[in-house]
Amino acid sequence: MRAKWSLAVGGMSLFFLVAGAAQAAGNPVAGREKAYTCLGCHGVKGYRTMYPSYHVPLLGGQHAQYIVNALMEYKNGQRKMATMQAQAESLSKQDMEDIAAYFSQKKQ
């Protein structure tokens, strides 16, 4: 009886954990809209920064959590690059999660 009860509680907390994670994740449809500016560089194959010159990273199919972390790091100055700091400055956490959800989609 007791084992059954704890199984039920365990199952329920697992459900809430999963539901919570799903809620925390961004919305890729909203992200598509918010990513308009990003795609000016990250949506151009082989696009390079001006100076110093190197390819802007491929972000399609990258992990969402990593993208959110990267944007947060730009926003709080842990990662320095003028263009990206200016972009991240104006983004809320929700914006970042939505954009990351869109970017992280597997290639169709």
């Binding site: 949506g43 390819h55 972000l59 992990h63 959590q65 990593y66 790091e73 320095k80 597997k106 290639k107």
Partner: protein, 112 residues
């Protein structure tokens, strides 16, 4: 005959440019050996399955070089990566970038 000459010339050019690329951008074979430590977080071949750590397989070599130098110089502040990149020489960085960028990838350029 002319076709053959063109083919030989083209092959020669392709080999030469590949070598030039390797000299300039590092040696992927040497990079594979140096990359063993990276696999612990970034996955075998750079195919990370942990969402905290970026997929490196197929990423642009010059971007990886940039990132590693930025970690090394503290422009990108991350305690784990600073420790890792801090011990790498310029040649190590080029080799690692050559290796990861040459791996089959699931990354792609986003559509505008």
């Amino acid at each position: 005959m002319k076709g053959l000459a063109v083919a030989v010339f083209t092959c020669g050019l392709a080999v030469a440019s590949t070598q030039a690329w390797a000299i300039k951008h590092g040696d992927p074979v040497a990079g594979a050996k140096k990359a063993q430590t990276c696999f612990a977080c970034h996955g075998k071949g750079g195919h990370s399955t942990n969402a905290m750590y970026p997929i490196l397989a197929g990423q642009y070599a010059d971007y990886i070089i940039r990132a590693l130098h930025d970690y090394k110089d503290g422009i990108r502040q991350n305690p784990i990566m600073r420790g890792m990149a801090g011990s790498l020489s310029d040649k190590d960085i080029q080799d690692l970038a050559a290796y990861f960028s040459s791996q089959p990838t699931t990354l792609y350029t986003l559509k505008r």
